[in-house]
Symmetry: C2
Subunit: 327 residues, 2 copies
């Protein structure tokens, strides 16, 4: 993986992706006690950054591969990214999704034209199901993070941050990234290394699913103990990827971990003061920016708000907690 692949992705994506702007809020800065710049990828097409990698990967397929179709597995954000990008290439897509995925993600994936295959997270292997489909139907598999084209697409977020942060006068900052398998984090880290070497990517994870923080701490890939039961459905990857981990190990600072309570409070903060809908997984970096101590992260800090595909019931639950953010 090198910066050239990310720059090529940026060229492919130029007229397709939405260049999400850096935002800020006086009240959130005051609450956090530090200046926070926010990169709202929840506003990206399909509601998360995943469309970037998906489009980049699909646009690289041959005519024959496009004619045969693609298959992917995903709890719902990669799913929607693949669905839209495939539709735009007149390419059929099949997505393997857990049956307990948020209903909004399942509905939107179907609405964008994908065939959705549901599986039981506790009993079945999504990789096996997808590989079987690929074999039977001649589909090309597009992995959610351990794919150079996917990492390169996600890395365009880092190119935009490097460019936009300068116009905000920020030349030195931690860039907090919600981290599952590490596709977004590693792509951003590579883009920052080349374009803003004084910026440093930091992985953000919820308690109980801190495989990347532990992996970075121990210098080797560590796995999560469980793969269900958490609030943050989109970033419950089993462990950092084979491709993504070496990049993160080389370039990222220590991993950051927040509580689910802090994630819910960050969702409320985004509702009240940014007017953004964040899903739990997409609010992890904001939670770190708002609530972690001053010696753990930089001031100013940049937080990537990675997705907003949340069911109304979960969102309403977060709002109903009626948290006093000043506390």
């Amino acid at each position: 993986m090198d910066i050239g692949q990310i720059e090529k992705a940026a060229n492919r994506l130029r007229s397709r992706t939405f260049t999400t702007p850096l935002m800020s809020s006086t009240i959130l800065n005051k609450l956090a006690g530090r200046r926070i710049l926010l990169k709202p990828e929840c506003l990206q097409h399909t509601g998360s950054f995943k469309y970037r990698g998906a489009f980049n990967a699909i646009s690289n397929l041959s005519k024959k591969e496009l004619a045969n179709g693609v298959v992917a597995y995903s709890s719902g954000n990669h799913a929607q990214g693949i669905a839209l990008a495939a539709q735009q290439h007149q390419c059929a897509s099949v997505i393997v999704m857990p049956e307990d995925a948020p209903q909004l993600k399942i509905n939107n994936t179907r609405r964008l034209g994908s065939e959705v295959k549901l599986y039981d997270r506790a009993k079945q292997s999504r990789e096996s199901i997808a590989l079987q489909l690929a074999k039977e139907r001649g589909l090309t598999m597009i992995k959610p993070y351990d794919d150079p084209m996917v990492i390169a697409g996600q890395g365009t977020v880092g190119l935009e941050i490097a460019h936009e942060a300068k116009s905000h006068g920020v030349r030195n900052a931690d860039v907090l990234v919600c981290c599952g398998g590490g596709g977004l984090t590693s792509g951003i880290a590579l883009a920052l290394e080349a374009n803003a070497p004084c910026f440093r990517a930091r992985t953000c994870e919820p308690e109980g699913f801190d495989d990347t923080a532990r992996s970075l701490g121990q210098g080797k890939i560590c796995a999560n103990e469980r793969l269900s039961g958490g609030l943050c459905d989109a970033i419950m990857a089993p462990h950092p990827g084979e491709l993504t981990f070496p990049i993160m190990r080389r370039l990222c600072g220590p991993g950051l971990v927040v509580s689910e309570d802090q994630v819910l409070r960050a969702m409320v903060a985004a509702f009240r003061h940014l007017k953004l809908v964040l899903e739990p997984s997409g609010a992890v970096a904001l939670a770190a920016a708002l609530f972690l101590k001053s010696n753990m992260i930089s001031d100013p800090v940049i937080a990537v708000l990675s997705g907003g595909n949340v069911d109304a019931s979960i969102f309403a639950k977060a709002l109903a907690t009626d948290i006093d953010l000043c506390a």
Copy 2:
């Protein structure tokens, strides 16, 4: 009022306001049966476009006026705009707000440093209270819409639309605007007249509070029959302004009216497919774009999403309606 005042406002606001980008959604286009470009002013500082006019008006005050402070009346969006702009000018501010205003608006206005005076919407006149305060304390009154500096500030939304729409290849469109007293609509209409004469501003109002639509239809200022009881608290102005109405009459197409049910459905659509939090008043133009018939508005169409300051309880109520948007 002329375009020169709006251009001067744009220069004053350049480093202060957030240049909200034009957004789009494949799924919303499909639902609406037309191409919709969205201008999300809910993402503006303080959660609505009102900061633009407030900052422009306050930045025009003399040192003596700034030292004495300002007073305004508002149900909450102009309030927050004034509060932040005053704070940035080290100027004291007093805001007269109805006691039934959304709690979030009252809290945020206080949090931004304003003194809030609550009044009873049914029994007291907000103008009288504000005028009395202005007299007693030597404060400068900044009206919510019938003020040339305020209209000019809001008009910068129109300059941005004219500029951004071209880069989306749109050169001919209705621009739908949530309309209370007409400050935003008249400012946008003036900006479009000068910079995108093939674009036409259209007022959007909720049923029961359609004073502007009736005024445009009859060619004279008509009032609302009531000033409370509606879902759209931010645009329940008594009637179009003395300054704003002649501009709207000259430049706008026929006024558009939507139901409160359509407003709630537009809030759900923005939650699901744009990841934006809209307050009811800020969703009126989106409701028109999504649900009005094809012979009433253009395709493509541009909708200004004017604000997102909604209490969690109202937002949760909208989400709980569990509307099938396809229906």
